[in-house]
């Protein structure tokens, strides 16, 4: 259907090096007007570098770019936007204290005598919001009060106001709920129908199938395959990305239930959860799924003492926590948590792996208040080796590692602390396919060694494959616990969305 459409964006033999490393090597691709093109590759394959070249943030060493047949060599992101190429970032660049309208008109205010003419932009703004199917959104709403999905749409609206012809979307659904994601797919396809060319980056195969028609796979900075999505299987794509076939996480369902480790009953927090109860056994992997905003993260945080217990109890073995008990009491009794927000909460990006690893139990490497360097290095090396963390040294700042390796450091902290109960909030978010598999393998090994694991996750196939049992959270309430084999993606979605016809969060 697109073969007759004009070529909107063309990349020819683009190369970019950083010092001795060649990040991209002679990549070429063409995208037609009206086409959604999937850009696939593991983390570090060169996707981000290519996108930075496209959006003007980096200058290529060689190669040429064309937009609508004209040479395109942006001097910076704003120049790129003027030429109609807009990047929608993973981390949104919106001002939360300003209204939707102010955010949309930022940088293009029409003014007279230094005063902003508020109404001048209104017709354009309404038009764009209508195109995105959110005409009912009040322009006076503060952006900070919107859901993640709505914010993403505002970001796209901003690009459209600039007259974007080429949209680059980098993992746009990574923090969206399922329904927000579905809406985004529709909008993406609609924008393509209007003539936009969309470059779509994602780790989720199902998502790519839904939205993209064609694909390019990058590995080690070079194109290793391209074609139409309908002509390729998921397994073939994963093989192209990884360079070797990856075994799919098998759905092992050993019913090796040990003693009860964590018992939560009728737990309520400030807003969420509401009367949640669950029991976690030694050797068990229990998954909690649900829409974004259903209260899954709040459940973990309340259990862990990061948020106040309003009612109900959390017990480990015979010990029950009081509402005044803090996080330290959880660690002491062998509960650890991995945060969903690696950058903001989970890790100290500027500090070495070693410091990140031992932070919850610094006394394990200290004598009389002084850190023993040799003990620190030894412990760190041990976990770097046993978890296969790819790092230049124990002193490398965690921020210099890839997402998957960062997540391993976050997990290693719990292992170093030797906890029995692991609370994992979105442990595989934003990391590449192979790292995901490694993390899941690790989780299963831990369960097999007798740990109890509570996982919050959004990607249903992953959760179905990885967990022993699943519970669905819906508006702060936990549903029935069933073995993973008793659920399907469909039945999970049905329960998660039950009674919530409302798409706006």
């Amino acid at each position: 259907m697109t073969s007759t459409a004009p070529i909107r964006l063309s990349i020819e033999g683009v190369t970019k090096s950083f010092g001795a490393t060649q990040a991209i090597r002679g990549v070429s691709l063409n995208i037609n007007a009206g086409e959604v093109h999937a850009l696939i590759g593991e983390n570090g394959a060169g996707k981000s570098t290519l996108m930075k070249v496209l959006s003007g943030a980096l200058q290529p060493d060689s190669g040429t770019l064309f937009v609508d047949g004209e040479t395109y060599s942006p001097r910076g992101p704003s120049d790129a936007r003027r030429r109609g190429v807009a990047m929608i970032y993973q981390e949104l660049n919106l001002a939360p204290h300003l209204t939707v309208e102010q955010n949309l008109s930022l940088g293009r205010e029409q003014s007279q005598f230094g005063f902003v003419l508020r109404d001048a932009m209104r017709p354009q703004i309404y038009d764009v919001l209508r195109r995105l199917g959110i005409a009912d959104l009040e322009p006076d709403t503060l952006v900070g009060s919107l859901s993640q999905g709505a914010k993403q749409l505002i970001e796209i609206a901003r690009a459209l106001l600039d007259g974007a012809k080429v949209l680059i979307m980098d993992e746009p659904t990574s923090s969206l709920s399922r329904s927000d994601s579905l809406r985004l797919f529709e909008i993406t396809k609609a924008l393509a129908r209007e003539g936009c060319a969309v470059v779509y980056i994602s780790h989720f195969m199902d998502e790519l199938r839904e939205v993209a028609e064609s694909y390019t796979v990058l590995r080690d900075g070079a194109t290793v395959g391209s074609g139409l999505m309908k002509d390729v299987t998921d397994n073939e794509l994963v093989t192209l990305m990884a360079g070797r076939p990856v075994e799919r996480a098998s759905s092992h369902l050993a019913e090796n239930r040990g003693e009860e480790l964590l018992c939560v009953s009728d737990l309520s927090g400030e807003r969420f959860p509401q009367g949640a109860s669950l029991v976690l056994h030694r050797g068990e992997i229990l998954g909690i799924v649900g829409l974004v905003g259903a209260g899954r993260t709040e459940l973990l945080r309340t259990v862990f003492g990061l948020e106040r217990i309003r009612a109900g109890t959390v017990r480990v073995g015979a010990h029950g926590f009081r509402s005044s008990d803090g996080v330290d009491s959880r660690w002491k009794l062998g509960i650890g948590m991995v945060s969903e927000d690696r950058k903001g909460e989970g890790l100290m990006l500027d500090l070495p792996i070693s410091n990140n690893l031992v932070l919850s139990r610094v006394d394990s490497v200290a004598v009389n208040g002084w850190i023993s360097r040799s003990a620190l290095v030894e412990k760190t090396m041990k976990w770097i080796q046993s978890l296969d963390i790819r790092a230049s040294s124990v002193d490398a700042p965690v921020g210099s590692l890839s997402g998957g390796n960062q997540q391993k450091v976050a997990l290693a902290r719990l292992l170093h602390h030797d906890v029995d109960v692991l609370l994992l909030d979105e442990p595989t978010r934003g990391i590449d396919v192979r790292s995901k598999a490694t993390i899941w393998n690790l989780i299963r090994d831990l369960a097999a060694s007798g740990k109890a694991i509570l996982v919050v996750g959004s990607h249903l196939p992953e959760m179905l494959a990885g967990c022993d049992a699943l519970m669905v959270m819906q508006r702060g309430r936990l549903g029935e616990k069933k073995a993973a084999s008793a659920w399907t993606e469909h039945s999970l979605l049905v329960e998660a969305t039950a009674g919530s016809g409302d798409i706006h969060a």
């Binding site: 990061l306 803090g326 996080v327 330290d328 009491s329 959880r330 660690w331 002491k332 948590m337 945060s339 927000d341 903001g344 909460e345 989970g346 890790l347 100290m348 990006l349 500027d350 500090l351 410091n355 990140n356 932070l359 919850s360 610094v362 006394d363 200290a366 208040g369 002084w370 850190i371 360097r373 230049s392 040294s393 002193d395 490398a396 210099s400 902290r413």
Partner: protein
């Protein structure tokens, strides 16, 4: 990665290179005066007050905080020392009281910041005024003359016994610098300071008692500020409620020239002390060469901006 180590070595050497530049510059302009032993000894003594303050400030800045009250706190210490001496206390008692008064201000800062959950900048902007006011009240709104004691010898340029070579204050700075340098880098509390400054949420997640650590850090900083106040008294030989006005900015500048980041998580005691030396040699060199005050102020301000800008660009590459 060897590059990585190289970068971090360069970063720690940055302030040292700055110090060398200052030494070479003024050394070539006024060689026999600037590099004279007597002058070096004088400058080292002049560095002691800012240096002690900078040690404490580095702990606070590394943990992501700031303390604007140190100038006032130094004034309060001089007053406390002078009053204890005037009212017949022994020099030892006076010294201990002076140092403790600084620690009290630190604890007050830490308690306000953690209990009221107000940004350190705001809290210490408040205590800057409060402590200055307390100092004036304790002093009865005038400077306090104290009877002569050995405390005045702490900062003398020609120490006795002569084998000390430099004043006892300089030795105190060196010893405390080495000790607290190790504390920041190698102790548990130092590790906690870096953790809180780098990402406070992670510290909370890992179950650290963040509030009590912060109070301890501010108390430690206050203790060193109190010691700086004792040295200030030794230099002035009177208790002066208006002493050290604006000195907090010199101390913060020393820490920043030393490469610490005001957003926390980065900093080292040695670098901060080198930063203090840069400031002191710069001022001294300007005085020797005869640079007018306005040019000196422009020079110091310019250097702060350049050093921080260069540090940033080094970090980005």
């Amino acid at each position: 990665m060897p590059e990585n180590r190289l970068v971090s070595t360069l970063r720690s050497l940055g302030p040292l290179v700055g110090l060398l530049l200052v030494l070479v510059l003024f050394g070539s302009l006024e060689p026999e005066k600037f590099l004279a032993f007597q002058n070096i000894r004088t400058v080292l003594t002049q560095t002691v007050i800012v240096g002690l303050g900078a040690i404490g400030m580095t702990f606070v800045v590394v943990s992501g905080g700031i303390d604007l009250s140190v100038g006032s706190s130094i004034a309060l210490s001089t007053i406390v020392v002078a009053r204890v001496l005037r009212d017949g206390g022994s020099p030892w008692l006076a010294a201990v009281c002076g140092v403790l008064s600084g620690a009290c201000v630190g604890i007050l800062n830490g308690a306000l910041i953690t209990r009221l959950k107000i940004a350190p900048f705001i809290v210490t902007l408040g205590t800057l005024q409060i402590v200055r006011g307390i100092a004036k009240y304790v002093a009865g709104e005038q400077k306090i003359d104290a009877p002569a004691s050995w405390l005045a010898d702490l900062m003398t340029k020609s120490p006795s016994p002569a084998w000390l070579i430099v004043s006892p204050g300089v030795w105190a700075l060196v010893v405390l610098g080495v000790f607290f340098g190790a504390v920041l880098k190698k102790s548990v509390i130092g590790t906690y300071a870096f953790a809180i400054g780098s990402n406070e949420s992670t510290a909370v997640l890992c179950g650290l008692p963040v509030s009590s650590i912060k109070i301890r850090l501010y108390a430690l900083s206050g203790l060193l500020t109190g010691l700086a106040g004792l040295m200030q008294f030794s230099r002035l030989t009177v208790g002066d409620p208006t002493a050290a006005t604006g000195l907090e900015l010199n101390i913060i500048a020393a820490v920043v020239i030393g490469g610490a980041s005001l957003s926390g998580g980065v900093g080292s005691i040695t670098s901060s002390l080198v930063g203090a030396l840069v400031m002191a040699f710069l001022a001294n060199g300007c005085n020797l060469v005869g640079v007018p005050n306005y040019a000196q102020e422009i020079l110091v301000g310019g250097i702060i901006v350049i050093v921080v800008a260069m540090d940033r660009s080094r970090r980005m590459t």
